[in-house]
């Protein structure tokens, strides 16, 4: 849970995550460079490093873009999501190193200003391959810079999660530009079929993964909405019959779509509470989290909220919307109208059945 401004809230997990990421990048760069030099006696070391950096940034971008949908499709990938932003910043840094090498090697020795020369986008190729691939790369790098510069919780808190998410969707444009940059640049002079095949597989992987996750979420939304809408009982005062108490595992939640938004209904110690399914931090799915130490805990980054009022425990100040809850026998009824974030709602209590 955020408190005040800190550059990076380091902990053991983050250090380990970053250590693996940086170690992996260095190992890749060394391996690619050495293999390139051994495979082609004519290859110059600076060109091998340049290509190692470019392919590394391209591969890292694919990894970063895979984590989100993978975590939606399979909870076992959630640990990768924990520090994804550091991986994004690392991607930008590797891409920046690639861009710097390119400018020094191909654009810095002429009479024209090197940066202007890059933007001039000269290409000896014609037709589609005559796309100014340098400009496409500069565009992708500029977006990655914007993502990295605004990745800190400072910007998340000031812009708000929704605006921040909208802004960071620009990474998909960066990916598209990077793919075209590679296709219209590097792959034009590469006669080996393997790089083109690998890049094509990467494109297919990202598209299939995101479309599959998107469609799964849409199907889930429709299913949850249909179940919720069908169960608005007469005489229930507008409350929606969501499920039975016995269908919710202790310390866990059942998610329902009410009035178009997902609501997480938690069972905790003989009581039922309902809060928004959306974490204030990065819009993580609270309903997929657990109640730990009496607090609902987001599965993405561990942000915590009290079930009865949706507020983070002091000294933290985050709060989410709450919903009124009541029981009809062992049926859980939820008012679909959200209350203001942090509004206290008395939990609906029930008798625990002896096993």
């Amino acid at each position: 849970v955020a408190h005040g401004y800190v550059t990076v809230g380091w902990n053991r997990q983050k250090r380990l995550y970053d250590l693996w990421a940086v170690g992996g990048v260095l190992a890749y760069l060394a391996t690619f460079t050495l293999v390139s030099l051994r495979a082609d006696a004519r290859a110059a070391a600076d060109t091998a490093v340049l290509r190692a950096l470019g392919t590394c940034a391209f591969a890292l971008l694919h990894v970063v873009l895979s984590i989100g949908p993978l975590a939606r499709l399979d909870a076992r990938f959630l640990p990768l999501l924990y520090n994804r932003r550091h991986l994004g910043v690392l991607t930008f840094l590797v891409a920046l190193a690639h861009g710097t090498f390119v400018v020094l090697q191909y654009h810095a020795l002429g009479v024209v200003n090197p940066l202007l020369h890059v933007l001039a986008g000269e290409s000896p190729m014609g037709g589609v391959a005559g796309l100014p691939f340098q400009v496409l790369g500069v565009g992708a790098l500029a977006i990655l810079f914007l993502m990295a510069a605004t990745s800190h919780d400072f910007w998340l808190a000031n812009l708000g999660p929704a605006t921040w998410k909208r802004l960071h969707m620009a990474v998909y444009l960066a990916w598209a530009l990077a793919v075209l940059h590679v296709a219209a640049g590097y792959l034009q002079s590469e006669t080996d079929a393997l790089p083109a095949a690998l890049a094509g597989l990467g494109v297919a992987w990202i598209l299939v993964l995101h479309l599959a996750a998107g469609w799964r979420e849409r199907a889930l939304d429709r299913d949850l909405a249909a179940r919720g809408n069908l169960k608005v009982g007469a005489g229930s005062g507008g409350f929606v019959d969501v499920c039975s108490v016995d269908e919710i595992e202790e310390g866990r939640a059942r998610v329902a779509t009410l009035a178009g938004e997902r609501v997480a209904i938690f069972r905790h110690g003989g009581a039922i509470s309902a809060v928004s399914n959306v974490c204030r931090h990065q819009n993580g799915p609270l309903g997929e989290g657990r109640v730990i130490d009496g607090c609902i805990t987001c599965p993405w980054h561990g942000y915590q909220y009290r079930p009865e009022d949706g507020r983070s425990p002091p000294p933290f100040t985050e709060k989410v919307e709450t919903y009124r809850v009541k029981l009809a026998g062992r049926r859980v009824l939820v008012d679909p109208h959200a209350l203001a974030p942090g509004t206290r709602v008395e939990p609906a209590r029930f008798e625990e059945r002896s096993p």
Partner: protein, 151 residues
Amino acid sequence: VIRSLRARHRAIFVLLAVLVPAGYAAALLDRRAPPPASVWPGEGLPGASEGARRTVMWSQVELLTEIARGDDGALRVRALSWSEPAPPGLALYWSAVDPAGDLPDGARFVGALGPAAREFTLRDVAGGGWLVLYSLGHGETLGALALAEEG
């Protein structure tokens, strides 16, 4: 709010699923065959001492070359030095016709000049032709050297 973001994400990827593969495929289909590479001599230039050694003033780069015709008829070119700073992406081409101005169609790529790339072998150029110095970075011809004398 989250639902609208999810809908936007779906719409973006439907669009990308059409545009990105189309752009990728178009770029690959438009690829041109790479220029034939020169044969890289592993050792020095056999018979180089018998060849002409001359300093050639290109338009922007003072390129010192050593050119010799080997016993097998192949023309061997060694770039001894060139003035710095030089335009980026220095490359040598061989052309059968006088490359007045732009790089002629059908010019044959000999090799790129660099710290580790200084020696090249040209085969099947018995008729002479021109050695062309070209800047890949600037996309311009820097000069040409008639090879008739070495033929």
